[in-house]
């Protein structure tokens, strides 16, 4: 479904849900659900605290590094697998296992292999994001119309130029789709890494607020996080749309 096409109605119905939240909160059904208005007030003051800013920075830092690694490695591995059967055979099975395996179970193991604290979280982000990027890149590379590649070769593009002028560009829509899905998974990864192993950044705040039953701040954190996750995904989707526009009816 094209979120873009439904952006307006989507916002509208989310607003309806917000109203329901506010009403349920006002009725005091459970201490877990404070009125949305209180949460927004909490969010407003929360973002002004040094603690939140530091946590957000830590989290963002781990996320950006992890994603950057995932994109570089993912696109390269996907390219290799898409082009060379040897690489495909060698890595295919692992990529397919890890893309849908419950990686959470692996997170505690990562620390031993890669290091503690932020490193664990970076690796978690990487590990959550990279496989889908590999698979989508590989699919994109394999979906490059054979004729387009032959066109390049017949006009004298060989080696590196074939990749930079034809193959990577032609696979760009799929690569971007992979990166978008990878980002969504990466956000999940950063949170899971911070919740399961290294209690830093956002994970620390979640832990802190839920321990103290500070639901306003807890939901404030959640809303900000969800909004960022959706925003990132919408951003990439927007770029995708533009690329697909040029790709037209491929």
């Amino acid at each position: 479904m094209t979120i873009f096409g439904y952006r307006v109605p989507m916002m509208a119905s989310l607003l309806a849900w917000c109203v329901i939240w506010e009403i349920v909160g006002q009725m005091g059904v459970s201490f877990l659900i404070p009125p949305l208005s209180d949460v927004l007030v909490a969010a407003f003051s929360l973002v002004q605290t040094g603690t939140w800013q530091a946590a957000a920075l830590t989290t963002l830092n781990s996320f950006v590094i992890g994603m950057a690694l995932a994109i570089v490695v993912g696109v390269m591995l996907g390219l290799l697998m898409g082009r060379f059967p040897v690489a495909d055979n060698l890595f295919g099975i692992w990529v397919n296992i890890f893309v849908s395996a419950p990686l959470s179970a692996l997170v505690p193991v990562l620390m031993i292999l890669f290091g503690m604290g932020e490193t664990t979280v970076v690796v978690t982000v990487f590990l959550f994001a990279v496989w889908i990027i590999v698979l989508d890149t590989r699919a994109g590379i394999q979906a490059v119309p054979r004729s387009l590649e032959e066109m390049g070769r017949s006009y004298g593009a060989g080696g590196l130029r074939l990749y930079t002028k034809i193959i990577l560009l032609a696979a760009l829509p799929e690569i971007l789709a992979g990166i978008r899905l990878g980002m969504v998974r990466g956000v999940k990864g950063v949170v899971i890494g911070q919740l399961l192993v290294s209690i830093i950044g956002y994970g620390e705040l979640f832990e802190l607020y839920s321990r103290n039953f500070d639901m306003e701040n807890f939901w404030a954190l959640t809303i900000i996080l969800f909004a960022v996750a959706m925003g990132l995904s919408a951003l990439i989707e927007n770029i995708e749309k533009r690329v697909e526009y040029y790709a037209g009816v491929r």
């Binding site: 439904y6 890595f91 179970a105 996750a229």
Partner: protein, 276 residues
């Protein structure tokens, strides 16, 4: 799991010229062999890394294998999975019924789409893991909580896939059914559902994968039971081979389950994909 080999078939023969096509041909007939080699290579690297050792908390492959076999035969895995799979099965069943139902509803009704789809879109993109600790406050630590964790992760995927599948029913098939005066009900039962079933089923598979994540998160974040307990307990007493064996087992179980489901899907739902 079967996808890579499948998607490759024709591609492979094309890509190479000259010498590389010779290798291409050789490899094509040896895919299974290559997979085995890939697995063996991985284990070899693991064994070497364990022997260096890169860390005292990192067991070798053989130690882990030994622990794995021990736990397999002494009933530790059986007991753990009996506990872990319970919320998973219940949660997936609930999510499947609810998700497919809601998905079809959203696919058929614009209003349901408007009201419900955005919620699922948010839930699918958002890191739900953050909310799992909250469940304990309401539902404690029992089966209910873990089931809920599974549902929270699995339901959005299943619902959204059902929704997309129904929305993207081949319009000319729908026109075809209308042109033969098929009733509304016939249209849904004889065209929309069969046409959507492969994607709905793929959604169930993705939902199951998410459910595995949910149950593991629940067992690591809510209360260590089943396989989550095997991981945390063996870690707390520094039985690292056992801990790794438990981690490997859950990845193995989920991978095998998902592959079996995919094989079932191709065999039963896609006559057009069965041969060739």
């Amino acid at each position: 799991m079967s996808a890579p080999a499948h998607a490759n078939g024709s591609r492979r023969a094309i890509s190479g010229t000259g010498a590389s096509s010779f290798w291409g041909k050789l490899l094509e007939h040896r895919t299974a062999l290559w997979r085995a080699a890939s697995i063996a290579l991985f284990f070899l690297v693991w064994e070497i890394a364990g022997r260096i050792p890169i860390s005292f908390a990192f067991p070798t492959f053989l130690e882990t294998l030994r622990a794995f076999l021990t736990m397999l035969f002494n009933g530790a895995f059986v007991a753990a999975y009996a506990e872990t799979l319970q919320p998973l099965v219940i949660g997936i069943t609930i999510s499947a019924v609810l998700g497919v139902g809601l998905g079809i509803l959203m696919g058929l009704s614009r209003f349901a789409e408007w009201l419900v789809a955005p919620v699922f879109i948010v839930l699918q993109a958002a890191p739900m893991a953050a909310l799992i600790p909250l469940i304990t406050f309401v539902y404690g630590i029992g089966l209910m909580s873990k089931t809920l964790a599974v549902v929270m992760l699995a339901l959005p995927v299943i619902a959204l896939n059902g929704y997309k599948a129904v929305r993207n029913t081949n319009p000319s098939l729908v026109d075809m059914c209308r042109s033969f005066q098929g009733s509304w009900w016939q249209r849904i039962v004889k065209i929309i559902l069969p046409d959507a079933s492969p994607i709905i089923f793929a959604g169930l598979r993705l939902g199951l994968a998410a459910g595995f994540i949910g149950v593991i998160l629940a067992e690591l974040l809510i209360t260590p039971t089943g396989i989550g307990d095997l991981i945390t307990y063996h870690r707390s007493v520094a039985d690292y081979p056992e801990m790794y064996a438990a981690v490997v087992s859950i990845i193995l179980v989920s991978t095998l389950t998902l592959s079996a489901l995919e094989a079932f899907e191709v065999r039963v739902l896609r006559p057009e994909k069965r041969k060739g």
